[in-house]
């Protein structure tokens, strides 16, 4: 393996890609679609009442990732078996290039092309980043995560193209693998949530169930003319619990131990990207109660994944008493966002999978070959 060899293969691949005229067209369509989505997202969320740049950020970043996951596999998924079909692979294998030169050269070329896609989407993403109130460090982090995720997708495609004889088969397998990562993990998590749900004793801090039995609301008729408005309010309050009424008690309920299955979630590239840089919460605005209003899928995904990882806590805080709602009692997702992130696990898994895929691809390209897959000729 040498830098010279990798460069030779990468230059060959890139030259072929650039010459076949469909790539500039694809790139053009890609930019146009992303621009369209960015503008639509901007206008859709640019509402006086619901002004929310973070919704635009979420939409654009997810769209770039989703579209890239559709396009990038096609850069490598037919690379090796396609070359073999054209009879040009053996031509390289009999030169001084090693199998690692060929694998890494093809990867570098595909990755450089996927970078071209990312870079051409960058202006719109930058716009979204700023609308989303993401700090500069987080922008870099989410770009780095995107770059690495795309590299892993390239590698998985390349691996499948060394494993099957027919380009169609490897393309289908690559898209299936992408589907498994995105939908398989989510569906798997949702289904296995039933397996980890048990009836358990749970400690709760809140209003005991019997509180309402002992505190019957007084029978008042608001239209009674003998009562002043002040008296009515006082009487109504007497029927409502206050924070002082919350006690700690135990109760048997369904408890989902998501901390046993949370690891499925960060395998999903969307979760990794979302969790690496969720948009900042919108500063509370006039006449608004909750801060988590608005369309912010990345915050939800990020918070949800962390919540699942944290699992049911020791004491379930259910002291939902209206007067204290905005300060002491937070939305559980908001609270989870304050805990440790899950994206490093997801990224570590993806990088491990990428390394594994590259190793498999390298082995499959090693010559001389002892075992050939049935029905293939090496040249």
């Amino acid at each position: 393996m040498s830098w010279h060899g990798i460069r030779t293969v990468a230059a060959l691949e890139l030259r072929q890609r650039v010459r076949t005229s469909k790539w500039p067209v694809v790139l053009g369509i890609w930019v146009a679609v992303i621009a369209l989505v960015a503008f639509l997202a901007y206008y859709a969320t640019n509402d006086e009442q619901l002004r929310s740049g973070e919704a635009m950020y979420d939409v654009v970043v997810f769209f770039v990732l989703g579209l890239a996951m559709l396009i990038v596999p096609s850069l490598t998924a037919t690379s090796v078996n396609g070359d073999r079909e054209h009879g040009v692979l053996a031509t390289l294998q009999t030169t001084l290039l090693t199998h690692w030169d060929i694998v890494l050269g093809k990867l570098v070329a595909a990755w450089a092309l996927s970078m071209a896609f990312l870079v051409s989407a960058l202006p719109f993403m930058a716009w979204a980043f700023f609308e989303g109130g993401v700090s500069f460090g987080r922008i870099l982090l989410s770009l780095l995560v995107l770059v690495l995720v795309l590299a892993v997708i390239c590698t998985v495609g390349l691996m499948f193209s060394t494993l099957t004889a027919r380009p169609i088969a490897s393309a289908v397998l690559t898209y299936l693998a992408m589907g498994a990562l995105v939908f398989g993990t989510t569906i798997g998590f949702a289904l296995s949530a039933f397996l980890v749900t048990d009836k358990e004793q749970q400690t709760v801090f809140g209003i005991p169930d019997n509180w309402y039995d002992t505190h019957q609301p007084p029978n008042v008729d608001p239209s009674d003319p003998t009562l002043t408005q002040e008296q009515i309010d006082q009487l109504m309050k007497a029927g409502q619990p206050t924070r002082a009424d919350c006690t700690t008690f135990t109760r048997t309920t369904d408890v989902a131990h998501t901390e046993r299955i949370w690891w499925m979630l960060p395998l999903n590239p969307f979760v990794v990207v979302a969790d690496a840089a969720p948009s900042k919460p919108r500063p509370p605005q006039r006449n608004e109660v909750s801060t988590s209003a608005g369309f912010t899928p990345m915050r939800w995904i990020s918070g949800g994944a962390r919540l699942a990882r944290n699992g049911p806590g020791g004491v379930s805080d259910e002291c939902w008493v209206d007067e204290a709602s905005s300060s002491s009692n937070q939305d559980p997702i908001e609270k989870a966002l304050g805990t440790a992130p899950v994206w490093p696990y997801g990224l570590a898994f993806l990088l491990l999978a990428g390394t594994g895929a590259a190793t498999v691809a390298g082995r499959r390209l090693r010559t001389p070959v002892r075992r050939l897959p049935n029905g293939t000729r090496i040249a």
């Binding site: 060959l12 030259r15 072929q16 009999t94 001084l96 010559t367 001389p368 070959v369 050939l372 049935n374």
Partner: protein, 304 residues
């Protein structure tokens, strides 16, 4: 830079492509590999070209084992596959420059080498065309240039003459003889026996994955080997009767020709002299097939 193959065997699943092939190809010689379709020639060349591992047997190229020392072997060989594919988007010159880079040839040396080879295979005026547009014969010539780019001392050519026009074939012959004269080892598989007869020093005949015999093709051999001669005569009856009288094995072939088996050129000349002396009016007298053809047909006779 000798190629030595000892009892090599290679199966693909339950298909035995090469059963047991042994051969030696010496430097300075052109060795021909001939045999029916599917007899394992391409498979053998793939093993020599460090692409396949033999199941059994040993291969040595310049004393090196292609299985354990593939890099050293690759530096010494030039391989031309039977179906030569090219990168369609590249020009002819770029194809050669890319392969040169893959052999780590310095760029300026690669350029001079590419130009020289393009001249050798007469592709200069197509040098800046896309390889995709080349005709089959032109692709084949590009394949030969590709195999020569690293100045190999061992050449493995799989049916290099297929698709070539007559002039290109003659030029290929000259190229191969020139390479052998430089002391290189040339192993060439082909189905065009008359062509090989002209260029090869020895021929290895393979059938059903086995090497049957190695035939020397130099002049001394042609002088003494049994060959078929075809006689055309104005009085066919007289000729047939004469041959029967003199116990010469003969048979009628198409077009009023008679074919006889004669051992050596000396005897062939004497037979013609006798025929003419006895008043048989002979209008044509020629070898019906080359020595290589006879040997090939004899060796692969069981297929009929």
């Amino acid at each position: 830079m000798t190629i030595e193959v000892q009892g090599v065997r290679r199966a693909f699943g339950d298909v035995l492509a090469v059963d047991s092939i042994s051969l030696t190809a010496n430097p300075g010689e052109v060795t021909a590999l001939i045999g029916p379709n599917g007899s394992g020639k391409t498979t053998l060349l793939l093993m020599l070209a460090t692409l396949l591992v033999p199941d059994q047997g040993a291969i040595r190229i310049d004393g090196l084992d292609p299985v354990t020392q593939p890099t050293e072997v690759r530096a010494r060989i030039g391989w031309m596959p039977d179906g030569f594919g090219t990168w369609d988007a590249l020009t002819v010159r770029e194809v050669l420059l890319t392969v040169a880079a893959a052999y780590r040839i310095a760029p300026d040396r690669a350029r001079t080498r590419t130009d020289a080879l393009l001249a050798t295979v007469h592709l200069e005026d197509l040098a800046d065309r896309r390889a995709r547009v080349l005709s089959r014969g032109q692709k084949q010539r590009l394949g030969l240039a590709r195999a020569l780019i690293n100045d190999p001392s061992v050449l493995l050519l799989d049916e290099p003459a297929s698709g070539l026009d007559p002039r290109s074939r003659i030029e290929l012959r000259d190229v191969l003889r020139g390479l052998a004269a430089q002391g290189k080892t040339v192993l060439v598989s082909s189905h065009i026996l008359t062509e090989l007869q002209e260029v090869a020093d020895r021929a290895v005949i393979v059938a059903r994955g086995r090497s049957l015999e190695t035939q020397r093709l130099d002049d001394e051999h042609a002088l003494t080997a049994t060959a078929s001669w075809r006689i055309d005569s104005l009085d066919l009856e007289g000729l047939t009767a004469w041959l029967a009288d003199h116990h010469v094995p003969a048979r009628r072939v198409g077009g009023g020709l008679t074919e006889v088996e004669v051992a050596g050129e000396e005897n062939a000349a004497r037979l013609l002299a006798d025929l003419v002396r006895d008043g048989i009016r002979v209008t044509g007298y020629a070898r019906s097939q080359g020595a290589l053809e006879s040997a090939y047909l004899a060796a692969t006779e069981d297929r009929r």
